[in-house]
Symmetry: C2
Subunit: 344 residues, 2 copies
């Protein structure tokens, strides 16, 4: 390796600071490159419509633990998380490429399980596996998925399009995936301490399913289309809404306020959070991996929104100077801090 | 991990057998997915022209050794090898996405070196970095690059379009990259045995450069365009022409014969091969990582070809029943066996 004069640790910059830092000197050269680094997906103008591209890298031991993550679910989820980024652009995924690196600890049958999960996801979402790369790793399993979708110029939804007064909405419910992970981590710990033990999972199907087999909100993009509703900004909930909302606010140059009473939380999530002595609202705000859609709409579209299923108005976009706030059910205003997943 | 009834080792199938095996149950669902797994790149019909997508996963310890691979060169090469796949479709790369996983052994400055190399490649080839993912790894550096290009329907060149009687051609020269790797491996070994030693690299700039800083043949795609020449089949030389030609023959349902005297080998390559007691022709056939273009043309295009620079007619396409043969300068016919890089 080259001699280094200065050593800056990666965690000094943080994940998003690091991406900004690394990509700051790259200049766009092709007029077809409409949107580069900094949204859920890149956008390429191909003349007739827009091509939307999103990519993720999943590393064993960082993003998943094979002690409790069934290989088929892993394959399924690795596709879904990428499709979710395409839906978050209000676009339709059409193709995926999959690259995988594996150590010789994996058999062909183990790989078959992963690809079977991928196949099920491709079928369910109507996307085609069109390419990839298969190679070996010295250690562990690495999966890289790129999703390619199609969108229309006047319907694509970026992170930077909202303004003060817009309504802040979210689909589905939040926090369950994070608790699913907590259950599995607890059972893993118990199992490692006492390998004879039987896992206690049976009564938490919903919660665990949200973590092990999340779905992307393809249905919502179709619902928006039918309702002729175009969100002003949108992102999928991967790091937790605190963090994901921060991206929208930063890129749109706005602030936001979330009403605590407006945060959709499943009953099972509430019950289980209390059992784990966690605050359900904190799980919902910072848990992440929900793969719901967090979006904003112009208030004049409120009538269109009202009749749509599974969407919750959670707050409002404000001036940037007001920052990101949580309006608690007790009537107080707290600063929201983005925690998200810390990988570094 | 799930209980496994049967365990098949991955090397029983080989890399290409494995890809076929894993992807056999995936069905194409979108009419826009023109070409899936099995060529240099996937092809997507977007209405006005074709989008071409290629992806590679590079793993430290498998694809590169940081003891002798400077980080800037690694960044450069990781982009170039992907662009090469797009050029091999007779298309123009326009965008790339880069995902990278790193352990905390890497500093921001080390990453800066990698991205500086990537930036130089993007600038040189006129492509835009439009997205990606940055995450941590438990161990080592992992780079996943996806290149996206544009092609025209009647000019895109697949692996399956050649027929008996076509001429087999290659650009540039072969085998140097493999010898570059041999030098670096030798110097690494010497250094590990005696860390005080100075590496002897100065007189082998061409050879080492072919390995550490390969270029993709953007120029050739432009030359084909100007000459109004469309190859009948094309692939880039990544695994070695024996292996790469096998892909063309398998997918086109043909055989081929290579004239030993027609294989372009640089003088430095010949000299160094002899010094290493290697057969230069074997290096050229099986070395790989040359990133030249191996292609076939209809003999009626011979007059167009004759005036083009840096292209060598190396043999001919034959009936499938004749297999893959090498016609040696001694007048004998040998079976060609694809060796390529063995990662598993």
């Amino acid at each position: 390796m080259a001699e280094e004069k200065k050593r800056t640790e990666i965690n000094e910059l943080g994940e998003f600071g690091l991406i900004d830092h690394l990509t700051q000197h790259f200049k766009i050269q092709n007029p077809s490159s409409l949107k580069g680094v900094g949204d859920d997906a890149a956008v390429i103008d191909n003349g007739s419509h827009l091509t939307v591209v999103s990519t993720d890298l999943l590393v064993e031991g960082i993003h998943f633990d094979l002690m409790y993550f069934p290989l088929k679910h892993l394959g399924y989820k690795s596709i879904v998380v990428n499709l979710s980024d395409i839906y978050a652009m209000n676009a339709q995924p059409k193709q995926v490429t999959v690259s995988i690196a594996i150590s010789n600890r994996f058999s062909v049958e183990a790989l078959d399980e992963i690809y079977e999960g991928m196949r099920l996801a491709c079928e369910h979402y109507g996307v085609d596996l069109v390419g990839g790369d298969t190679t070996s790793s010295l250690k562990g399993l690495i999966i890289s998925v790129t999703a390619i979708g199609q969108g229309e110029k006047d319907k694509l939804t970026y992170r930077n399009g909202t303004k003060p007064g817009d309504l802040l909405c979210v689909t589905g419910d939040l926090g369950a995936s994070y608790l699913g992970l907590q259950i599995l981590e607890r059972e893993k710990k118990l199992y490692l301490e006492n390998p004879g033990i039987q896992p206690e999972l049976e009564d938490q199907q919903y919660i665990i399913g949200r973590f092990l087999k999340p779905e992307a909100r393809k249905d919502m993009v179709e619902i928006f289309e039918k309702a002729n509703l175009v969100p002003t900004a949108m992102i999928d909930v991967s790091d937790g809404i605190s963090s994901d909302l921060m991206h929208i606010c930063k890129q749109s140059g706005v602030g936001a306020i979330i009403e605590e009473t407006g945060i959709p939380i499943h009953n099972d999530t509430k019950m289980l959070a209390l059992k784990f002595q966690l605050n359900p609202v904190t799980c919902a705000l910072n848990g992440g991996e929900d793969y719901e859609l967090l979006f904003t709409i112009d208030p004049k579209d409120l009538d269109k929104l009202r009749v749509l299923p599974d969407i919750y108005i959670m707050g409002e976009i404000t001036e940037a100077s007001e920052g990101l706030k949580l309006h608690t059910s007790g009537g107080k205003r707290h600063d929201l801090t983005a925690q998200g997943w810390k990988h570094f």
